[in-house]
């Protein structure tokens, strides 16, 4: 017997009770049932994003749809200028979105595996006063790297610039404080910390961002946030929503509230700490210089074939881990800590990783990773 376990940094495993909850007879979205649900979801999303004054909205689409909505609604061609940081595949993607829509954008490359340096943000904004919008990925999934949004928020706030944050693999598992940090638009997806199937994008928009959005027409239709704002006022959606996923979202958000975000942040950090300790103990270097707690990227040891490693993890142990993306293809493997993953799952993944590496000829003491992880758990609990 092999259970399939996803340690990919999205989609992640979905709790069985959430799956069955979503399997109940479908409801129409223009009913009091759905309107009550959307009102409750919106209220809970404010807690998730840690905001009192911003508006969370649900978009049917991948996280990329939510990111496009954030950017094209608030950055106006011929009026605004973006500073975007490319320190991984997703930072790179937001630069591509700006380009596709013909938006003025300084696409700043940052060494992959390092966070965005707030001092660089400050310097670049000082050098080019036309920059009035900063796009930054909070937790860059491709390199498992965290950037300091709190520090960047201070810089954008001081200049009255807009701060758009991709918190796709941070919101709901790492501290992400929309109001306190001065974020203007944040977006995430359903298949990460929210442990739902993919298909929902979530956008949270502050009043300052709405003022910017209202300054010009949006060059897109489906991803125009104004249509979502108008609809949500009557607990509606502008286009037919993925309502079974919204039903699941409600259930998950109730669970998040009950567990408490701070507890979830601590737990995620503990799982990441344990995995990093295990990696070091078995001679695998953590790739990122500023590691995120939602996913860990580990350099594959010399002499070990990365594809064989992932293949064996899946075929022998049912464990789906992720490889590298872009330039990191073949060089790293990634193991996630978001969502429906606990201590048991994490020990299972580390144990299988050790067995796989042993089979592929890597030299280390079998069990050293598991013991290092246990020590982290023993100290934390």
């Amino acid at each position: 017997m092999k259970k399939i376990r996803l340690f990919t940094p999205g989609p992640v495993m979905v709790p069985e009770d959430v799956m069955l909850h979503m399997a109940q007879p479908i409801e129409h979205h223009r009913t009091s049932f759905y309107r009550d649900m959307l009102a409750d979801v919106t209220d809970h999303l404010k807690y998730l994003f840690q905001t009192d004054h911003a508006d969370p909205m649900v978009i049917t689409g991948s996280g990329t749809a939510a990111g496009e909505a954030a950017i094209v609604s608030s950055v106006h061609a011929g009026k605004n200028k973006v500073l975007n940081f490319n320190n991984g595949k997703f930072g790179e993607r937001w630069g591509k979105v700006c380009k596709a829509f013909g938006l003025a954008c300084v696409d700043q490359e940052v060494e992959w595996g390092t966070g965005v340096d707030p001092a660089v943000v400050e310097k670049m904004m000082n050098a080019d006063p036309k920059i009035d919008t900063v796009i930054c990925v909070h937790s860059e999934t491709s390199t498992a790297t965290l950037s300091d949004i709190a520090a960047i928020g201070k810089i954008t706030q001081a200049r009255n610039a807009l701060l758009i944050v991709d918190c796709i693999t941070s919101c709901g598992c790492l501290p992400m404080k929309f109001d306190e940090w001065g974020v203007d638009i944040a977006f995430t997806g359903s298949q990460k910390a929210l442990m739902l199937p993919p298909g929902l994008g979530l956008c949270c928009v502050a009043p300052k961002a709405w003022r910017r959005i209202d300054e010009a027409e949006c060059p897109a239709f489906y991803n125009d946030l104004k249509a979502y704002r108008k609809a949500v006022r009557t607990w509606d959606n502008p286009y037919t929503p993925a309502n079974t996923l919204v039903l699941g979202l409600q259930k998950v958000l109730h669970g998040v509230k009950q567990r408490g975000l701070e507890n979830i942040w601590k737990e995620t950090r503990m799982l990441a700490d344990a995995t990093r300790a295990a990696a070091t103990a078995i001679g695998m270097k953590v790739y990122s210089k500023s590691p995120s707690d939602s996913v860990t990227a580990m350099l594959v040891p010399d002499g070990v074939d990365e594809a064989a490693l992932r293949k064996t993890m899946r075929s022998a142990y049912g464990m789906q881990i992720a490889g590298g993306q872009g330039d990191l293809k073949g060089k790293v493997v990634r193991i996630g800590h978001m969502g429906y993953i606990d201590i048991g799952d994490t020990l299972a993944a580390i144990g299988a990783l050790e067995l796989t590496l042993k089979g592929l000829g890597h030299k280390f003491e079998l069990g050293a990773g598991l013991r290092a992880a246990q020590e982290v758990f023993a100290k934390a609990l």
Copy 2:
């Protein structure tokens, strides 16, 4: 006890076994499991669209996302000119998409409740040779009205123009023959004839449309069909797909193949015929002059309050029917025949409609609608 039954023209009821199938442990989309599934789904989608040579693609989003993708990928600003027909809320929407993206578009109003007249298409194209793209809704959901795509396809083919068809409430329940009719791009959604929850848009693109698409850059990112074409070549998606819905899609498409599209078309027509006969028998006029078989719009009798009618249908009998949209608000109710609806459901809806109308003071012979429907069934079976 009241079972909730959806007769809304999307979302429709989802078969229980499909719901439970989608509730199985989630798989990652970059696995052989998912790639095999997407290859099989793509193959079956060709049957659904009735095409040998075109490429079906799956987009995570509402049907509107798929429509936007079809339009903005193939109509280039400053190069092409669209003739769009507004004979209902959805025809109106595609005109708005053209406008949002700054595309040249003749937005032709047609009396709501009537189909698009092929003679008008021909006349308008003759009068303006710059028109090289026609957008037409096959089954206009808001007015329950069918247009003759086969005839319009002959006109666009003769002029080498592109024909983009919204077949959101036709594909999979009414005859829709992509190749035979000369359609160049067609799109639909998951929550109609495919009887899945909302969240997937499906686009089918012919080689002629690909050539047009390749003539210029797309002004959007998420809804750029070129990204989907590139990804599907390796059975991948450009952005994380709503993979539980794709799993459901596979199951539904296997069922469609097994039942046979022609049989499904006949069944849908029978349910629509029965509902129209029932409406006439109880003094409710069918609204459309060219009725679609996927949904029936009926004029609410004088003296009956439309909101009270729908409310009672729901509160007393658990039946969710749809009201009118736009100018038809308060004037019509709509009952769907797509997807997971059978003779029993249709009789149940007609019976409840009679009881509701009786309670609201409408004068007719109780049971006359049910008998008229039975007569249609008796003749058809």
